[in-house]
């Protein structure tokens, strides 16, 4: 798995960006979410992984003994996941409201605010 992870991450990044580059609202959001997975996995992988040893101090011990997974990236990812969720929730609703205002699923229709009028 350790060797697969980089490819998995690359695949997720590619998939996420590819979805964002589509013109659909929904695909856009899905793409953003996948991008979030990719980033989290990258953070996880790049700070080195340890198999099956969570950073939980055993009942009788007072500190961890190797091997154990690095707890810091886990805490970071947890924060990142939660923040990502908050933003995604807002984005999902934004897309919905945006759709209701514009009556379209096509992002290309959203060019009235910044296209230069002739």
């Amino acid at each position: 798995m350790e060797d697969i992870l980089p490819f998995l991450i690359g695949g997720l990044y590619a998939g996420g960006i590819y979805l964002i580059l589509h013109r659909s609202f929904v695909k856009l959001i899905i793409g953003l979410i996948i991008l979030g997975y990719a980033s989290n996995l990258l953070l996880f992988t790049i700070s080195r992984v340890t198999r099956g040893a969570p950073p939980l101090i055993p009942e009788e011990a007072s500190q961890l003994t190797e091997p154990f997974a690095d707890p810091l990236p886990q805490a970071l990812i947890l924060t990142a996941i939660v923040i990502g969720f908050g933003i995604q929730a807002f984005a999902i609703v934004l897309i919905k409201v945006g759709y209701q205002a514009g009556d379209t699923d096509d992002l290309d229709d959203l060019n009235t605010t910044d296209r230069l009028e002739d």
Binding site: P54, L56, L78, V82, G86, A89, V93
Partner: protein, 136 residues
């Protein structure tokens, strides 16, 4: 959703969810869990209720405004950081009361208070989002 079976099931499940969420909250310092996960689980019970009965009824049943919950959660979390200031420590420093050890909570300390704040806020957030989406 208008299903007796679902409604009854949910009525059974809600206390289970709450129970489990408290479980997660309080032992989070020593095992997987914690305020965030606990708050999520707690809110899921009410989310189910909202799906089944509609948000209006869920809101009435829940009786605490999600926004208030958010505000209280935040306030508690911040207070847990300010308490150490009074004791002359740095902001957010963990203060532990070593004298007693409550079976469930373990030693009481500001980090636990912080986690409780997180719990409340997360529950308020999820409920706020779900109620708003259902109420339309």
């Amino acid at each position: 959703m208008n299903s007796t079976i679902l409604s009854t099931g949910i009525r059974i499940l809600i206390p289970l969810f709450l129970l489990f969420s408290l479980f997660l909250l309080f032992r989070g310092h020593n095992a997987p869990g914690g305020g965030f996960v606990g708050g999520l689980v707690a809110s899921i019970g009410f989310a189910l209720y909202a799906i089944n009965y509609g948000a209006e009824r869920a809101r009435r049943r829940f009786y605490l405004r999600p926004l208030k919950l958010i505000a209280w959660g935040l306030l508690i979390a911040v207070l847990s950081g300010i308490i150490p200031l009074i004791a002359g420590e740095t902001f957010m420093t963990g203060l532990w009361y070593d004298e007693i050890s409550i079976p469930l909570l373990g030693k009481p300390g500001t980090p636990i208070l912080f986690d409780i704040g997180v719990y409340l806020l997360v529950a308020g957030t999820i409920l706020g989002i779900i109620f708003s989406l259902w109420e339309e």
